[in-house]
């Protein structure tokens, strides 16, 4: 087995809580917000992993830590054998070249004052790669071609407002590809796009993984969009991965009650297959007040007496398939 491209070990991220003036007068300490509470996973080159969860589960914070945009409170991220959090200066610069990000909103993530050509060339200029004008131009052409923006000459001088949503997202991807990264982090890459366009962008991302060996971390709240594209799925809840395994197994037989519920509420485009969804009551709790024991127990339909006491680790439930639930402790 080859060395993983990306190694995430026990990642913890705390944000300082906000304290009101009255709290300060009463000498009440600020409560830290634990956005990530021990997240670990690996990613091999050419593999697509999906981090799935609802808002507040920590998936976006994970993405920012992977990019080195935020320092971790504890734990480490190793990319290409380099520890991300420890890097500074030139090392961080090199890391920024090997990890690139695709953001959610293609309408917002392009500078309206820059042409497509300038946008794709920007990362090359920042890192002073490509050398001469012709060299930069060549790389921009290659990146736009890889992102499916052909013929390139028809787009180079266009401004973002002249492009459709799908084309804009392709430009974002082209800008990410310009530096020939080994890791692509896609944060909700299609949620702002029209349904008929989404498949093309997802197909493009998975082709990049398969054909170029780029590792892709896809961050999303929507299990259905990643079902056909991810090799593995990690379901997150309140800062933890609660279930983690090969896509097919997780979708066919989820073991964690939260993963089961999450899967059951995904609407299926088939009126004949209406299911009885497991609808959880309430909403995800505030990450500054994580429940004791299993963090899911207050909303869990299957909770029993030990759940509020024991914080379950990830138990192995199948080949490469893990779930953090006391019900599978002895599976």
């Amino acid at each position: 087995m080859s060395e993983p491209l990306l190694l995430v070990e026990d990642l913890v991220k705390e944000f300082p809580g906000r304290r009101s003036a009255l709290d300060w007068l009463r000498r009440r300490p600020a409560r830290p917000v634990r956005a990530l509470d021990g997240v670990s996973f690996e990613l091999r080159a050419g593999e697509v992993i999906a981090l799935v969860g609802e808002s507040g589960c920590g998936k976006t914070t994970t993405g920012n830590l992977l990019m080195g945009l935020l320092p971790p409170t504890a734990g480490r991220v190793v990319l290409d054998g380099q520890e991300v959090g420890r890097l500074s200066g030139r090392g961080l610069q090199r890391l920024r070249r090997s990890a690139q990000m695709v953001f959610q909103d293609p309408y917002e993530s392009l500078n309206p004052r820059m042409t497509v050509g300038d946008i794709v060339a920007e990362p090359l200029q920042v890192h002073r790669v490509g050398g001469s004008r012709a060299g930069v131009r060549e790389r921009v052409d290659a990146a736009l071609t890889s992102a499916g923006m052909t013929p390139v000459s028809a787009y180079l001088r266009r401004y973002p407002f002249e492009l459709s949503g799908g084309q804009r997202q392709r430009v974002v991807i082209a800008a990410a590809l310009a530096l020939e990264p080994s890791l692509l982090i896609a944060d909700e890459p299609v949620s702002m796009l029209d349904v008929s366009i989404r498949a093309e962008i997802l197909n493009l991302l998975s082709a990049l993984a398969r054909e170029r060996g780029i590792g892709v971390v896809m961050i999303t709240h929507d299990l259905s969009t990643v079902a056909a594209y991810a090799d593995r799925i990690a379901v997150m809840y309140l800062g933890r991965i609660v279930e983690h395994g090969p896509t097919r197994q997780v979708l066919a037989a989820p073991r964690h009650p939260y993963a089961q519920a999450l899967l059951s509420v995904v609407p299926v485009p088939d009126p004949a297959a209406r299911r009885r969804p497991v609808i959880l009551g309430g909403e995800t709790p505030d990450p500054s007040r994580i429940p004791s024991g299993c963090r899911f127990h207050p909303r869990c339909p299957l909770a029993f007496d030990r759940c509020p006491i024991v914080d379950p680790p990830l138990y192995t439930v199948g080949p490469d398939h893990h779930a953090a639930c006391l019900l599978v402790e002895n599976a």
């Binding site: 009101s20 003036a21 009255l22 709290d23 007068l25």
Partner: protein, 336 residues
């Protein structure tokens, strides 16, 4: 409620800090810059060194400015603490121009006169400006809106003192109104009502000028604030619920539109003060503004210092009041 309490505390705390900074600033302004009366007095070549020392001691200039750390005595026995101490006793010094008059008494009387001018104008301008702004926004792009816009643009471009002069000439020539001072000098008033009538006639032109100047500004603010609110989705909800336009404006738009209005009125208090200074100068209205201008002409620094302090503190307090009204109007302040 804790959020609202926090808001209250924050705002009051900030106002206190601002007042303290204003006091320090005021102290330094008149100490450090050339023009300190004691210093200029001491440069007089006719004074012998001993007299200079006596003068220095009398004005407290032999002490350190802020902190006396190597003097051996009380480190807080300094010019600044002496100033603060005098302030806390309400002692602002003695005027030069009006011999033996306490500055505090002078500016106290002037403040009352200024309030007589500013409060009615401010109130009138806010009420009329809000009404006009609301109407202009509602009838956006129609003749009334355009007329209101043109009016406020013109008002904005017209220097206040110039408007004052025009109204003064017109009022004096066509209506025989008094154009100077607060009261007819040497007038003999049989009753309180005669006196009130006389003061009222004196107040008319200055109030009219200040109201007109403020009106355009408030109208513009209200108009844009109402336009923002009218574009919000909850207005659409209100329409969908079947509310009439009148009810929507009264129950859903007005309060929301007043929120930014309150903030902006608070921020524009400096504008009001500047208008009042000019109006007082034109009509010789014996308020803080006129006092300031005459103090400049007379080089009466204690009065200038006291008047500026009072103006600044009054604006900070008025600002605080506006912030508190905002907190009372908007349930969301606990978030801020």
């Amino acid at each position: 409620m804790s959020g609202r309490g926090g808001y209250l505390l924050r705002k009051i705390g900030w106002a206190l800090v601002t007042v303290l900074v204003v006091v320090t600033f005021n102290f330094l302004l008149f100490r450090v810059l050339p023009g300190d009366p004691a210093k200029s007095g001491m440069r007089d070549p006719r004074l012998n060194p001993a007299a200079v020392e006596t003068l220095r001691a009398r004005f407290g200039l032999d002490k350190e400015v802020f902190l006396d750390l190597d003097g051996g005595g009380n480190p807080l026995d300094t010019q600044f603490t002496a100033y603060l101490g005098a302030l806390s006793r309400g002692d602002l010094g003695t005027s030069y121009a009006f011999r033996d008059q306490e500055v505090a008494d002078l500016i106290g009387q002037a403040l009352v006169n200024t309030l007589w001018l500013v409060l009615p104008s401010q109130l009138l301008a806010i009420v009329l400006g809000s009404a006009l702004g609301l109407f202009a926004a509602w009838r956006r792009g129609r003749p009334l809106d355009l007329a209101a816009l043109t009016f406020s643009l013109f008002m904005w471009s017209l220097p206040t003192f110039f408007l004052g002069i025009i109204l003064l000439v017109a009022g004096a020539n066509w209506f025989g109104l008094p154009t100077s001072g607060r009261i007819t000098i040497g007038g003999d008033f049989a009753s309180f009502w005669d006196l009130a009538w006389d003061v009222g006639r004196h107040l008319l032109l200055p109030t009219l000028t200040l109201t007109l100047v403020l009106l355009g500004e408030y109208m513009l603010i209200m108009r844009s604030s109402v336009l923002d609110v009218f574009g919000e989705d909850y207005i659409l909800t209100a329409r969908a619920k079947g509310l009439s336009t009148y009810r929507i404006i009264r129950h859903h738009a007005l309060r929301n539109a007043m929120l930014p209005m309150v903030t902006l009125i608070a921020l524009n208090l400096g504008f009001t003060v500047s208008g009042a200074i000019q109006v007082e100068a034109v009509y010789s209205w014996p308020g803080l503004g006129a006092l300031t201008v005459s103090a400049v002409a007379d080089r009466d620094y204690p009065v200038l210092q006291g008047a500026f302090l009072l103006i600044a503190v009054a604006v900070v307090v008025a600002n605080l009041v506006a912030e508190l009204i905002y907190g009372w109007l908007d349930p969301r302040v606990s978030e801020g």
